[in-house]
């Protein structure tokens, strides 16, 4: 049986301590689905507010609000399952939404935001865990479709 010198014991112990610290640091990091969840929730709030403020645009904006709400719910379910420690973030009240100045401004802002969600989601779907790849790709594809719908 190999004998550890005092020196290597110290090195080993330091290594374990470093590992432990890294482990804790990793646990404090947000789940990678929190960013798409935040974006989905913000889009749903903006589309809902704009549809209420501008009835003429409601027919265009309400389906976007519904889709983004569905995205936020599906992402939140997965975050809760994988990271019960992040429930606090999910349960915090959403930031207040400013009233959009016009229907056109709201549509333009949502089109930009959906395009960004499409691109970020397409990238994350390539690198994330297998069991999340389908959900992330599905949300990205839906955002691509709604971005085109609003832009047309």
């Amino acid at each position: 049986m190999p004998h550890l010198s005092r020196r290597s014991f110290v090195v080993l112990t330091a290594g374990v301590a470093t590992l432990g610290a890294a482990g804790c640091a990793r646990d404090d990091r947000p789940d990678e689905l929190e960013a798409p969840w935040t974006a989905a929730r913000a889009d749903a709030a903006l589309a809902t507010a704009a549809a209420g403020a501008f009835p003429d645009a409601a027919a265009r904006l309400t389906p976007v609000a519904d889709a983004r709400r569905t995205h936020a719910e599906a992402l939140a379910i997965e975050i809760r399952r994988a990271r019960p420690d992040r429930a606090e973030v999910l349960d915090a009240p959403p930031p207040a939404v400013g009233n959009p100045s016009s229907a056109a401004d709201a549509v333009a802002a949502l089109t930009r935001s959906l395009g960004a969600a499409r691109d970020a989601g397409a990238a994350l779907a390539v690198t994330t865990a297998r069991y999340r790849a389908g959900l992330v790709a599905s949300v990205a594809a839906s955002c691509a479709g709604w971005a085109e719908a609003l832009a047309s």
Partner: protein, 152 residues
């Protein structure tokens, strides 16, 4: 040169299913050309080309892993009779939804970045192209909230 399909957790079977969906979509695009208005000819040709390219990529990858790629059927049974532009567009909606579902299943069974990237592109195209066919078929919403999921 094509890398083989990773032989893990059902990836080859899922790749075969995606290939089957791409074969069917190519066939559906061919049938629909006879019924869709001239204004849809270019988007339909673009969609058919994208399906053939993904079909060929899957065939190459399956062959590289020593798998026998599933062949196309001579003809496919359509869920409903195709008699006009609306019913042809409805068939294309079904074909694109099947493609999205098959690629979503493959995404969840592989870590291969190329396959994941192709899969996200396939799901995105199925959703944006599918939006056009949903409009022609009179289906709302024109974009599914979670493409590739079994219909609720």
């Amino acid at each position: 040169m094509s890398a083989p399909v990773p032989d893990s957790d059902g990836a080859p079977a899922a790749a075969q299913a995606a290939l089957g969906a791409e074969h069917a979509a190519v066939w559906c695009c061919g049938l629909a050309t006879a019924f869709l208005p001239a204004s849809a000819a270019q988007p339909l040709a673009d969609a058919a080309l994208a399906h053939r390219q993904r079909r060929d990529a899957l065939v190459a990858r399956l062959e590289a892993s020593g798998e026998q790629p599933v062949p196309a059927a001579a003809a496919y049974a359509t869920p409903r009779p195709v008699t006009d532009a609306a019913s042809a567009a409805a068939l294309l909606v079904t074909a694109e939804d099947d493609v999205a579902g098959a690629w979503r299943a493959l995404l969840e069974r592989t870590d291969d970045r190329d396959l994941r990237t192709t899969g996200v592109e396939a799901m995105t195209a199925a959703t944006t192209v599918g939006r056009r066919w949903r409009i022609l078929a009179g289906v709302t919403p024109t974009v599914p909230s979670l493409p590739g999921s079994a219909p609720a």
